[in-house]
């Protein structure tokens, strides 16, 4: 797959369809694949990588990249295509400047899951049948493949590419995923249990802002948390209450626009399950205003900025909030 992608990218560079390629490149260690922009065939040959660790969603980079001169080729997994569609709807990317090749989705692996098994000093890994053979500084370890699957891939919602100029590999279907299971579990807790759960989880936050920086919905020219006039300017909160408000406000700001790409939780260095907050909002919006998947197409209106006579009454929302 990596070879096919490199070959196609080189073809498109050569015939002038695109002038740059965005994909992933190898990092220092075998699990360290990061998004990168390539401009020449040599760079592609040398550094381009597509493997089990290329979980990152490159759509967000296209906000800046599509504004530069020339066309850029982007490789998008199914979940990434939803983010890209949403960005088009919000006029954040210039569609004409991007050439999209849809590539197969996950499951991708998360190195944190490997570390959670107590395996440290990780250098590289090899797949053998359904096991992972991991090379570390201290010898070789093994674990099951499925144990290392990235959290967001376990609840995959769709293998369908909702936007692309061409495909490598086959297109898939929208899946019936269990992604709301944990949300339901939280809903069934008492208010105090839920409060304690979130206070506990959010107290870990160190305001690295990785979640905000990676989120494709967070593309404001000036984030409200950086804007002194917004009233919620907040870089390093002085108490945990302000800290919790950062996450809750951010969840509200992306509500209705979040495509559930799962990047926020994946990049959190403290393993805070932020995606649960966003999924709760998606579940609520589905129930109150009708089923809606952000980014599934280019024409549907976000339920939060559109009125339909089938929308629920505000009193119902109020009742649900009171317990």
């Amino acid at each position: 797959m990596q070879e096919t992608m490199i070959k196609r990218a080189k073809e498109l560079l050569a015939d002038g369809t695109v002038s740059r390629v965005i994909g992933w490149k190898k990092g220092e260690f075998g699990y360290d694949s990061t998004p990168a922009v390539f401009e020449t065939a040599e760079e592609l040959d040398r550094d381009f990588v597509f493997d089990d660790f290329t979980a990152s969603n490159v759509s967000k980079y296209l906000v800046k990249e599509s504004r530069k001169d020339g066309k850029i080729l982007a490789f998008l997994k199914p979940c990434d295509t939803y983010s890209f569609n949403q960005l088009i709807k919000e006029h954040r990317v210039i569609r004409e400047n991007v050439y999209i090749i849809g590539i197969p989705g996950g499951p991708k692996l998360d190195v944190e899951k490997i570390k959670a098994k107590g395996i440290t000093g990780i250098l590289n890994k090899k797949n053998e049948n359904y096991t992972l053979k991991i090379e570390t500084l201290y010898g070789t370890e093994t674990m099951m493949f499925y144990e290392a699957i990235c959290g967001k891939c376990q609840d995959c919602k769709s293998k369908k590419h909702v936007i692309y100029d061409e495909l490598i590999g086959e297109d898939g279907d929208v899946l019936d995923s269990s992604r709301f299971d944990m949300v339901e579990k939280l809903e069934n807790m008492t208010a105090q249990e839920r409060f304690d759960f979130w206070r506990e989880q959010l107290s870990k936050c160190i305001r690295c802002n990785a979640c905000r920086n990676v989120c494709p919905a967070c593309t404001c020219e000036k984030c409200v948390f950086d804007n002194p006039k917004s009233g919620i300017e907040n870089k390093a909160p002085s108490d945990s209450f302000e800290e919790n408000m950062f996450h809750i406000i951010r969840a509200f700001h992306v509500a209705g626009r979040c495509t559930d790409c799962g990047e926020c939780s994946r990049v959190c260095p403290q393993n805070i399950p932020l995606h649960l907050l966003n999924r709760k909002f998606i579940k609520d919006i589905n129930e109150l205003y009708g089923e809606y998947q952000a980014g599934a197409d280019l024409t549907s209106k976000s339920p939060l900025t559109d009125y339909d006579t089938n929308d629920c009454e505000p009193s119902i929302v109020h009742e649900r909030g009171v317990e």
Binding site: G118, G121, Q270
Partner: protein, 173 residues
């Protein structure tokens, strides 16, 4: 060089915390460690390092500079520097400990940051050597000896803990 059995670590912690506030790295959930004020029953973490470094004790992300109370036109100012207490941080890694010397170069030269100095003066650092560095560790690159650089440093093996005293302050403990 002093030696103490790992089983007796809890007693050591109890002893230290009876004289000053003690902070040790402890696990929040599997593999994620953070510094917390020691309480009976708290276990020392096996993690390579805490997620937020010990720098927080001397150079925190936010700090309270001054409190003031207004009563009509009267203002009462409370200076927090006068209210701070002595504390001990146990289990700091050599890489983090080296960072303190760099911070000192910035904040302890004229004009001296009195808030920083206050914290430095009140704090005692006990380092713990690493036995199993990760692939991302940079101590070698920067010439940091995993076993030095503190007022008191310790190395842990399975059964015992060694400690080397380097300053008078520690002797007083």
């Amino acid at each position: 060089m002093l030696k103490i059995s790992v089983n007796k670590l809890d007693e050591l912690f109890a002893l230290i915390s009876s004289k000053q506030t003690l902070y040790i790295p402890t696990d929040r959930e599997a593999g994620i460690a953070e510094y917390k004020k020691w309480e009976q029953g708290m276990k020392l973490s096996n993690a390579l390092n805490t997620v937020r470094s010990a720098k927080d004790f001397f150079f925190p992300q936010t700090e309270n500079l001054v409190d003031f109370k207004m009563d009509g036109k009267n203002i009462e100012i409370i200076d927090i520097r006068e209210e701070s207490e002595d504390f001990v941080i146990f289990g700091v890694r050599a890489c983090d400990a080296r960072s303190f010397t760099i911070l000192d170069k910035v904040f302890l030269v004229e004009p001296v940051d009195s808030y920083y100095k206050n914290r430095r003066d009140h704090g005692t650092v006990v380092t713990m050597a690493c036995t199993r560095p990760a692939e991302t560790c940079f101590c070698g690159v920067f010439g940091i000896d995993a076993t030095e650089q503190a007022m008191l440093s310790a190395t842990m093996t399975v059964k015992t803990s060694f400690s080397r005293l380097t300053t008078k302050r520690v002797r007083s403990l």
